[in-house]
Amino acid sequence: MIRFTDVSVTYSGATRPTLSDVNLFIPEGELALLVGRTGSGKSTLLQAVNGLVPHFTGGTLTGEVTVNGRTTAEHPPRELSDVVGYVPQDPMSGFVTDTVEEELAYGMEAIGIDPATMRRRVEEILDLLGLAELRDRSLLTLSGGQRQRTAIGSVLTTNPSVLILDEPTSALDPGAAEEVLAAISRLVLDLGLTVLMAEHRLERVVGYADRLVVVQDGQVRSGPPGELFADAPVAPPVVELGRQLGWSPLPLSIRDARSASMSWRDAHADSAEATPTAPPIATPGAVVADASDLTVSFGAIDAVQGVDLQLRAGTVRALMGRNGAGKSTLMAALIGLQKPKRGSVKVGSSDPVDPTTLSGADLVRRIGLVPQEAGDLLYRPTVASECASADELVNAEPGSALAILERLAPGINPEIHPRDLSEGQRLSLVLAVVLVSEPEVILLDEPTRGLDYPGKVAFAQILRDLADRGHSILMATHDVELVAEAADEVTIMAEGHIVADGPTAQVVVSSPMFAPQVAKVMRPVPALTVNDAVRLIQGSSQ
């Protein structure tokens, strides 16, 4: 269905090709999962399938890409729209019209399908993806999962045989991600669609994949997931566990891993209660931010209702919950961007004050926030001037911010524009400019969206170091694996309330939605991370 023959892609100005001599064949009706480190060329490979590379992005493509018998050399993307459906990473950025129904019809209008067929197909797709209730809703009012399903529906109406998805679940909470993935797997199983999907959060999707396509250093390998994961540069925790313990065949699902570890668990189930994984925090630090009976509202809606939360020095606390549960609003209130309707917020260990009264250097010395769109904080033309302006504000020694950046992400050229940094590097830069003022409290809103597994491990280490230096960290995230690695405590919010609060091991292990993969495999033995589990199993066998 999709065939790459000796394909190399070189962007203008690049010293070496992004993809070189790629030969790849994906047969009809398969769900192929594309994995690789950030910046390895995954998006380039995806966009080459429908001709956006090179017709739209520029650069040179040698070799041949054919989809359903049509070559991209002779057909620009618009003439492949009835064969390939391409859903960009942020579905909102690809929407052309303003309601769900019109969006579904747009692609068909563009290729001139007759009105009767259009009407019928729109109704079919509305039912297939469970969008019928939303048909005349404005696209702006949809939730993340609904937007993603609408985007998938909008390319399906032209009846393509191939669907290309660029990280369809990266911005979604676990529930919404399940909803989207269920829809995708139904398309593969019921309609025989061929799907090629890139994804960072492998733990969610590995179970659905028929084929793994690994991109590494411009080279591409493809094959059954069980074989290729043996040495793939990224792997979900359950596979990583199998790799480190030398299990064969490699487990791809929780069920595989549980059966592989069954004998060990049976032998050690009775010792489960006796082996606490992480030592409890010895002495809780001073309270550095204190919200009491906090209620924040937008118009008639209370986004945060009667929340009591204390942040202590030296801890990493994760804030979890569905999209729209009030996580970002709580953070905005903590830093004084949002005035509370009721209750109070105080920040600072000595002489606590209301953050809405602070500004400039007074504010950034007490509390810092890395927002979801971390790049918003950057406004200078180079990395160096960005760091210098951060130093200047708090009268830090010139070069302090740059030194922090060097520690977080070594080897960044300070003369380049922040936009040219990779996702992980940009996050490091934002952290550096926030950290230079040494705020007691650091708030992070969805910090790991664009990070791959190695990137997340490095990030978890950075958080640990910051906590050890006495910073208090509150991090909103959907990423249960990151929480397992990095957080001491977890707070779960739902509909503006705090519904669970406590040490990570207690809170996430008991929740089916928020438990990390390793916890599910090892239950009832308490272990959260791959390292925990490996240590336990290897330790007991010696």
């Binding site: 429908n50 690809g94 052309v96 747009y106 009105p115 009407r119 950034v364 926030l369």
Partner: protein
């Protein structure tokens, strides 16, 4: 039965525009404040009856307010610069002597009641024209209007639609970036705040534009049937020529000092040429339309009502030109010519002739639930 009658639809936006333009043409031919007042009443009645609940449907009120500003400006200019009409002096302002090169102008001097009334009526006419545009905007959804555009103008239409969706996103971007500026401890207001937020906002907008273009390209935007360059030039020439004809014709019709019939003829020729050009250019687009708004008898009826108003005022002008003007010298009470009154009454009919609005789906569901619960 009552429930059956409430299953409404949106009237074709083109019909609302024809109706509103009819009233605008009527308004442009008169300074009689009674006729102008009647036109505003008609507009308000229909807008109140058939305005959907959407952000753009507030534009009628906005443009009414703008109309008040226009009247005020017109009065100020008349008082300061206008030459006096009539003899009823209200107040005499001190005259400012002007240099010899401005000999034709006069600053200050006696202000007469006649000139104030004249200026107010003249300003009112402009205000009513604005109100007509506002009413059309309130009644007809801009995105539906763009969907109804002929195929040749489709690409322009998409650009406008995209711009319309970008505007609210830009506003939310600005808010977000301003908050980020505060987080960096920088001023989030004033000129310095603006400079700091401009770059991230434009960066974001540019990124989004590029992503959107890629998405549109991969969804088939811009597919077209092959066409000879000669034919394309001919089509473009016809379109342009037709539009020039329409402009000249409209000028002739609206300018009450010129002969109306010549203007009408040029206008008609221009419309025909432009229509042929649009139709020929549209033939090369492969695009089809999803659920186009139908054009049924209510659309014809609403258009006819608008045309009737214009025709009635036009005819009144032919029979008794004085009746359309505010009698200024000497000042007198204006009268409403019966023919114009009849025309404007017809123009108010769309308040009941046009189909009722559909009930929004979510509300609809609540209604149905209520209906089910009531008997139990």
């Amino acid at each position: 039965m009552a429930v059956q009658a409430r299953i409404g639809r949106y009237l074709h936006p083109g019909a609302w525009w024809v109706w509103a333009l009819g009233l605008a043409i009527a308004a442009s031919r008169t300074t009689n404040p009674l006729i102008l007042g009647l036109i505003i009443a008609v507009l308000a009645l229909v807008v109140a009856a058939r305005r959907p609940d959407a952000p753009w449907s507030r534009s009628f009120v906005v443009l009414l307010r703008l109309g008040l500003v226009v009247i005020a400006i017109r009065l100020v200019f008349q008082v300061l610069l206008g030459s006096p009409i009539g003899t009823t002096v209200v107040v005499t302002l001190p005259t400012v002597p002007l240099p010899s090169w401005a000999a034709g102008l006069r600053l200050g001097g006696p202000i007469t009641l006649e000139s104030i009334v004249f200026a107010a009526c003249d300003g009112l006419r402009l205000a009513v024209l604005l109100a007509c545009v506002g009413a059309a905007n309130s009644l007809a959804s801009p995105s539906r209007l763009l969907k109804a555009m002929p195929a040749a103008l489709y690409e322009v239409g998409v650009a406008v639609v995209v711009a319309m969706t970008f505007a609210p996103q830009l506003v939310s971007d600005i808010t977000r970036v301003r908050r980020a500026q505060r987080l960096r401890g920088r001023p989030d207001r004033g000129v310095r705040g603006l400079v700091g937020s401009a770059m991230p906002v434009f960066d974001g907008a540019l990124d989004r534009a590029v992503t959107l273009a890629a998405a549109m390209d991969s969804r088939g935007y811009g597919r077209s049937a092959p066409i000879a360059p000669k034919r394309r030039i001919a089509d473009a020439a016809m379109l342009l020529g037709g539009l020039v004809g329409i402009c000249i014709g409209l000028f002739g019709v609206l300018d009450s000092s010129a002969s109306g019939t010549t203007g009408l003829i040029i206008l008609a020729i221009g419309v025909v040429i432009a229509c042929v050009g649009i139709w020929r250019a549209g033939a090369r687009s492969v695009r089809t339309r999803y659920r186009p708004d139908p054009w049924l008898w209510p659309e014809w009826a609403v258009c006819a009502c608008g045309v009737a108003a214009a025709a009635a005022v036009f005819a009144t002008g032919q029979i008794d030109p004085e009746a359309l003007l505010m009698p200024v010298t000497p000042l007198a009470m204006p009268v409403v010519p019966p023919l114009a009154l009849l025309g404007l009454c017809l123009a108010a009919l769309p308040a009941t002739l046009s189909p009722p609005l559909p009930i929004p789906r979510t509300l609809d569901r609540q209604h149905r639930q209520l209906a089910q619960e009531v008997p139990a």
